[in-house]
């Protein structure tokens, strides 16, 4: 009999079904990834890049250089880095919702073309025609960047179907939030993914709020990893504020999917420090709540502590921060000064062919 998840007691109905807990048990057995010093430093650098990039994006928004909706990833960095560092980028695909800057940066995509998309410039990764919520890099097998809450889950099911159809050994990593987790099409996709044994890892980034509604006010079951049970999809519950824990969970989930055992549902518990979007005053939570997360659960500070215990100095880490600040400042410069798309771009890319 495998060990049950340590934290919460399972009901009798759950106990009868070992399969749904097997991944959690494997994960509990070894909860933190043994990163090499180089890997650990790289995780730190990547998370910090997302943090600094997003802070700068917030600043540019404040100056009116970025328009429309702009959803920042600050606080959630460990999720994208922990998961995407475990991907096989030759084969695997990723899809997410509108809070997508971090997932792109995790690929090492040039911050310049991302920031230039945010400012709506021709050099942007979508030629300035997509904006914050609609960015893609087919070169990296990153399929967006989707603005309709939950749509990316069904689309991710399709990417997984393509992996299976082509027998290319790849898997799809499909992110969605605790808000999207209440959309019907998510469960339609769970059903087909399980029915067809699709190679897909569903990741709920539970940042505790669906826009301004706390998950306890919108979700009858807030332990989202259990929501696959009705479809026989095994669940995993992960501390999304710890990059090494996320990475360890990714190893377990990806191995399961690559072995042809079908989909996995992973819940990463995380927290966004900023409002839902830039125009959200975030009055639905207290300042103390946010501060508590920043002070005690920050993914970057957490890894910093581990790095220092492993022998890095404050100065080493400060030098990394300095280099990242310079990189982000130059991306912002580029995004401010590069030209807007030409008027002729209005008509391009509507259709691929001429009729």
């Amino acid at each position: 009999m495998a060990k049950q998840p340590a934290k919460k007691s399972a009901t009798a109905a759950d106990d009868a079904d070992f399969m749904l807990h097997s991944l959690q048990a494997a994960f509990e057995a070894k909860k933190r990834y043994d990163a090499s010093p180089e890997e650990m430093l790289e995780f730190y650098r990547q998370m910090l890049l997302i943090r600094r990039f997003e802070e700068k994006a917030g600043q540019l928004y404040g100056l009116g250089l970025i328009g429309g909706f702009c959803h920042l990833y600050i606080g959630q960095e460990a999720v994208a880095i922990g998961l995407q560092s475990a991907l096989d980028n030759e084969r695997d695909s990723v899809i997410t919702g509108y809070r997508d800057h971090g997932h792109m940066l995790a690929y090492g995509i040039d911050p310049k073309v991302i920031m230039a998309e945010l400012t709506g410039r021709e050099a942007g990764i979508s030629k300035g025609k997509g904006g914050s919520m609609h960015m893609f890099s087919t070169e990296h097998k990153f399929y967006g960047g989707h603005g309709i809450v939950g749509a990316q889950v069904a689309l991710g099911g399709g990417l997984a179907l393509a992996h299976q159809y082509n027998n290319d050994g790849g898997l799809c990593l499909a992110y969605f939030g605790d808000g999207a987790a209440n959309q019907g099409q998510v469960y339609e996709t769970f059903n087909m993914a399980a029915l067809w044994n699709l190679p897909i890892v569903f990741v709920v980034e539970d940042n505790q709020y669906a826009m301004g509604t706390a998950s306890s006010r919108s979700s009858a079951e807030t332990r989202f990893h259990r929501r696959g049970t009705a479809f026989r999809i095994p669940g995993m519950e992960v501390n999304g504020m710890d990059v090494l824990e996320v990475r360890a969970a990714a190893e377990v989930a990806f191995a399961h999917v690559r072995a042809g055992k079908g989909p996995v549902l992973m819940e990463c518990n995380t927290y966004r420090y900023r409002g839902h979007s830039m125009s959200d005053p975030a009055k639905y939570r207290t300042r103390e709540e946010v501060q508590e997360q920043r002070d005690h659960h920050d993914p970057i500070e957490g890894l910093k502590k581990t790095l220092i215990e492993a022998g890095k100095t404050e100065d080493d880490l400060k030098a990394i921060d300095k280099a990242i600040r310079a990189e982000v400042a130059s991306a912002a410069d580029f995004a401010e000064t590069s030209p807007e798309p030409g008027a002729a771009e209005l008509y391009t890319d509507v259709l691929v062919e001429a009729y």
Partner: protein, 459 residues
């Protein structure tokens, strides 16, 4: 150098606000993430966070100041290693307009007609060599043959939908495909339109060529988000990176006695969306040739069939690869007195009406649009220039219809050729009733088309 803190915008439309309160004072040490101040607008109060670290050197706009312009410098932070600055502070009242900020309104709105790329001249139907045999084929078989031929030709093509495999299709359009291509390429889905439309669309983004069958397009309303928001718009939003070569197909329009929820023509809905191709053929040859074109097309296609036409037989040329051009109307009957523009099941009715009119000495030209988006304007306008009279016959509601679109085109681009107002013959503007007599009253028929033709001919 000191870092200038500027008045932030809380929303894209905010131009000024009140600096309600400073939470840090001059001389305070600042860490990134610290709340510096509270900013108020008429809509909300927001906290202003520090991005940089350093020391709050100088507050330039006092707490309580109203109407502070976005972009105005409100404070200075001395960065690490900075000497407290002795340089004169910038005047706070002068808002610094970001020089490179994009103007919200283009200085000069591009004139769509001038700037839009010229359309390639529409291709003609392939010539059918003399001596080609014609085989009488039902529309149902023609559609199946087209899918089967394309599946043989391209291993990326597959079919998915409710009852498409083992059941052989709810309307038997996919009959025999499972036996030839197997369950990997002919996939039965659960009844879950939104979900499988999304999975099909995602598979197309991932490089496959899905044909998604909706048992009827009425059920595709559950899935319309993926057809429009995911399939139609993504190529544009990605600056041309994301292809979505998918065909959404199934019966559309009124069937027979199935009531309002199962009887609707979605042609005008989809035809209004940039990024989609919308095809609605009538006869078997067009169904085959256009289905093959749709499957090969790099753009997302909505392919609207008609249940009442599935069983009708038409001649189909026995050719190896009969592919028709998308976006090209077909003149079904030449005539000189009046033009009847129509599509799908309306074509058969218009041809019947034309036969009646011929007996009365009115020579009607019948145009089958075949493709609803992009519309073949030229064929219509050329015909109008010849007949000077035009009516539209459409099995669908009149309001915001393909018919209303064609009337606009005639007004805008064919006005000088019009000898009479353009009339539309559409279904009655009511949900389709069940009772046989009421259903008949609600739908178009050849008699109504003929009556409208007489009217514009003043006969």
């Amino acid at each position: 150098m000191a870092i200038e803190l500027k008045m932030p915008a809380l929303s894209p439309t905010m131009e000024q606000g009140t600096l309600a309160k400073w939470l840090k004072q001059e001389g305070d040490r600042i860490e990134p993430g610290d709340i510096l101040a509270e900013i108020e607008t008429d809509k909300a109060t927001m906290e202003f966070e520090a991005i940089d670290e350093g020391v709050l050197e100088k507050i330039l706009v006092a707490a309580g100041t109203e109407d502070v312009a976005v972009g105005a410098v409100i404070a200075l932070i001395a960065g690490e290693g900075d000497e407290p600055s002795a340089a004169p502070a910038p005047t706070p009242a002068e808002a610094e307009t970001p020089a490179a900020a994009p103007a919200s309104v283009p200085e000069q709105a591009p004139a769509p007609k001038a700037a839009a790329p010229a359309r390639a001249p529409a291709a003609a139907d392939p010539a059918i060599p003399a001596g080609t045999t014609l085989t009488s084929t039902t529309v149902r078989e023609a559609l199946r043959d087209a899918m089967a031929e394309e599946m043989r030709r391209d291993p990326r093509v597959f079919v998915m939908g409710e009852e498409v495999a083992q059941y052989q299709g709810a309307y038997k359009v996919t009959q025999g495909l499972l036996a030839e291509f197997g369950p990997k390429r002919v996939i039965d889905t659960p009844i879950t339109e939104y979900g499988f439309a999304g999975i099909g669309t995602g598979a197309a983004m991932g490089g496959l060529r899905p044909i998604v069958e909706f048992m009827t397009f009425n059920f595709a309303m559950q899935a319309i988000d993926h057809i429009i928001n995911s399939a139609a718009k993504t190529n544009y939003m990605s600056g041309g990176q994301m292809r979505c070569p998918i065909v959404f197909r199934g019966p559309n329009g009124a069937a027979s006695r199935v009531g309002a929820q199962h009887s609707q023509n979605y042609g005008p809905w989809y035809a209004s969306v940039p990024g989609l191709i919308v095809i609605a053929p009538f006869d078997a040859a067009d169904a085959k040739g256009l289905m093959k074109a749709a499957i090969r097309c790099e753009d997302p296609v909505v392919f609207l069939e008609n249940e009442l036409v599935y069983g009708r037989s038409f001649d189909v040329p026995d050719m190896d690869d009969y592919v028709l051009p998308i976006g090209k109307a077909r003149i079904m009957r030449e005539g000189s007195d009046v033009t009847i523009v129509t599509y799908s099941i309306g074509v058969g009715m218009a041809l019947e009406a034309a036969a009646t009119l011929a007996d009365e000495g009115i020579d009607a030209e019948v145009i089958d649009l075949r493709t609803l988006r992009p519309l073949d304007k030229q064929t219509m306008l050329d015909s109008l220039a010849k007949t000077n009279r035009l009516i539209v016959a459409e099995e669908g509601w009149p309001t915001c219809s393909i018919a209303s679109e064609i009337i606009s085109i005639c007004m805008e681009e064919g006005f000088d050729h019009l000898d009479a107002p353009v009339l539309r013959v559409c279904n009655e503007d009511v949900p389709l009733p069940y009772a046989a007599n009421l259903e008949k009253l609600a739908l178009i028929d050849p008699a109504r088309i003929a009556a409208a033709a007489r009217k514009v001919c003043y006969k």
